[in-house]
């Protein structure tokens, strides 16, 4: 008994690292607000770089549990995350975050997932988590020019995939370059739907014009190659996985968003085809 008391009376600072457990929150002296804030920072970052909704809900609740939260309620759809946690001492916090812009960033998704695993293994303090989040956001997996190569490779490869000649592939690569340029520098400032429309219109116009001036040979195949860049195929896949994991609402929202985007894309190409068809008399 005496030994036990001596141990309790010891300085908390000499506790070895691996005694971190559900009481970690007291050692780290995080308030309940800060815990939820930190968990939501990770969750929102995950959601905005293209994670499924169930992964976001799971991550937020696991992080809160790792910091000792007792009751955890998290609800997420594609544009909002709502969460409430209660600590064993009765303090509670409830926060809501709105997500306005989502994009696909697989490297960031992977790193955020690794960070959340790390936090769940051993809770980190607020500064470390913020520092790590900042590092993840600043990390550039590939240099700028490689993105353009990627875009050009994607469009030209699919033009050839559907049976185009090398000249068609060349035209598709040039269009892919412009599309990537708009995607990277235009999307942050224009509405996403408007950007899709402009992209599709531009791709359609360039494809038809290139055939008219004799550079490309098959306008249909060039257009198909560039369509692949604009189709929100990925959103369809994510929507299905969301619905499958029980987040029906989030899945339906993503699904409708993807359908709308495909319609806007189709409208862009239709305008290009109608305009040049009328103007140049096909």
């Amino acid at each position: 008994m005496a030994e036990h008391k001596a141990e309790i009376g010891a300085e908390p600072a000499i506790l070895p690292q691996d005694t971190f457990d559900r009481a970690a929150t007291y050692i780290l002296s995080l308030r309940v607000d800060e815990i939820l804030d930190l968990a939501l920072d990770v969750g929102v970052a995950l959601l905005s770089c293209g994670a499924e909704v169930h992964r976001v809900e799971d991550t937020v609740s696991r992080i809160c549990a790792a910091y000792g939260a007792q009751e955890i309620e998290v609800f997420a759809i594609t544009s909002v995350v709502i969460a409430q946690i209660r600590m064993p001492d009765g303090n509670y916090s409830s926060q809501t975050r709105r997500i306005t812009r989502t994009y696909h960033h697989l490297a960031r998704l992977e790193k955020l997932n690794a960070l959340s695993r790390e936090i769940c293994r051993k809770p980190l303090d607020k500064e470390t988590v913020n520092q790590k989040l900042e590092d993840i956001h600043r990390h550039r997996p590939v240099p700028e020019w490689l993105c353009f190569i990627g875009g050009m490779l994607a469009t030209s490869a699919f033009t050839l995939f559907f049976g185009g000649t090398w000249r068609d592939g060349l035209v598709a690569a040039i269009i892919g370059f412009f599309l990537t340029l708009i995607e990277r520098h235009g999307k942050p400032v224009i509405n996403a739907m408007a950007a899709t429309f402009i992209n599709s219109l531009l791709a359609g116009l360039l494809a038809i014009l290139s055939v008219r001036i004799g550079l490309g040979q098959h306008e249909d195949l060039i257009i198909i190659g560039t369509i692949m860049l604009e189709i929100p195929g990925i959103s369809f896949g994510n929507a299905l996985r969301d619905m499958l994991f029980g987040d029906t609402l989030a899945g339906v929202l993503r699904f409708i968003q993807a359908i709308l985007q495909s319609l806007v894309m189709a409208a862009g190409y239709l305008c290009a085809m109608l305009f040049l068809g009328q103007a140049l008399g096909v």
Binding site: G50, A107, I227, L270
Partner: protein, 159 residues
């Protein structure tokens, strides 16, 4: 389909998958896996199409194989499934059919537009079915592993 066409399709599918993976900021060291995924789904799709014909079943089989591949790779590397799944599925996206639908629609041949649109829908349904079937397999596997671990832990506790 002649052998040359098949080879060209496989090579361009791989290049396309890698291109998309770069656009989606996949980590450069993972690009070979994206290439393998693209080759796998496209290969299964072409094989099944010569065997069975149609669009629904080949797409379903190809997506199933691609999703299982992604689930396995995700578990091996402790990374999220979408990291591997997205590049895999790119060669199956029915871009050609959507273009034909639009083109027929403009020219006023609504019957042909409808039939092309339905073919694109069949592709989409096939992909959806493949993702769902394989994801359910992944979920079942995860739950089975969790259950066995729990069993072992509790039996160890009682000893």
């Amino acid at each position: 389909m002649s052998t040359t066409v098949v080879i060209v399709k496989l090579i361009t599918a791989v290049l396309g998958s890698v291109g998309f993976a770069i656009l989606f900021y996949l980590q450069p060291q993972k690009l070979p896996l994206a290439a393998v995924g693209g080759l796998l789904t496209c290969g299964v799709y072409l094989g099944m199409q010569t065997l069975l014909g149609g669009e629904l079943l080949p797409n379903l089989a190809a997506t199933f194989v691609g999703t299982i591949f992604s689930e396995i790779m995700a578990r091996l590397t402790k990374a999220p499934v979408p990291v591997y799944l997205l590049p895999c599925l790119i060669p199956l996206v029915p871009g050609g059919m959507l273009y034909k639908t639009m083109n027929h629609f403009i020219q006023g041949s609504y019957g042909a537009a409808g039939s092309c649109g339905l073919t694109a829908l069949a592709v989409a349904v096939g992909i959806a079915g493949g993702i769902m079937a394989a994801s359910v397999c992944g979920m079942l596997y995860g739950q089975a592993v969790g259950y066995i671990k729990k069993k072992r832990a509790s039996s160890g506790f009682h000893k």
